[in-house]
Amino acid sequence: MIVVYILLGLMMLIAAVAAIQMRNIVSAIITAGVVSLIGSILFLLAGAPDVAMTEAAIGSALTTVIFLFAWSRITEQMKTDKKSSEHDSEGGSND
């Protein structure tokens, strides 16, 4: 039983370090969701099924969705900013 805890804990730590180190933001968000998912398994093993359910539903599902929505909003704005700045520079060169 202890071995299961140690293995899951190591996976969790590796996923946490990877989530912080990754360059791609979407991969980092999904890896942070994996940390929460393994955490919910640990909660289930430690005799707290209520907490495990909450962590699986909120920590790994809803938080990931919220992160992705916010990040897609930021990238969308990045795209429009880039397009409008290109447009501006073209207009400037024509004048």
Partner: protein, 233 residues
Amino acid sequence: MIKRIIIIITLIGLSFVLLPLFLNMEDAERLSELSQTYVTEGAEELGTANLVTAVVVSYRGLDTLGEVAVLFAATAGVTLLLGTKKKGGSVTDLLEERRGGSELLNTGAALLFPVLLLFGAYIFVHGHLTPGGGFQGGVVIASAFVLLLFIESDREFSHSVLHSLEALSGAAYVLIGLIGLWFAAGFLDPRFLPSGEIGRLLSAGAIPLIYSLIGIKVGSELIGVVDSLRRRS
């Protein structure tokens, strides 16, 4: 360089703060006196099968009320920061055309949406019997609405319905607390309804009622958060 040294020193200091927690702890053999009382008397006093629910809703009911208030404040903050965006405008013509979901996704989501709503309601109605409760059920309901957003990304949710649901359930929650103050021992005491037999759906006094209200409130708040954070075009 100095910044890095400061960071390392901070982390080492933090680990020294956390160290006594680790050294003084072994697997406890028995519960502390307060939790012993909650565990042994909670079942007979309140009639709940899930003792975590008894603690969340009744013994520590004031904490839950404060937590719901914090959740409301955070939701209000998100809506204040992001919710007042105007629709349409010049942004839309710069974006590429948005693709709707495929037919399989539409059919599957239409099939899953009512089932998910029912499942969320099941979770918070059975909060006093099985693991789960208002918070988890509310999240399941919110995820059903996220599924609707996947089909049609510019679907509008009616904000007045969400706000009135949230406000009404919050007010009803406090009202039930006050009824407990009047007819039973104290604020948020669920024993003004009969506690019934342990393990039945209609038992545990007003706990299923309170947890359902919390579920509706958390669900509508989280739908509001997701709705204001998603991208608008």
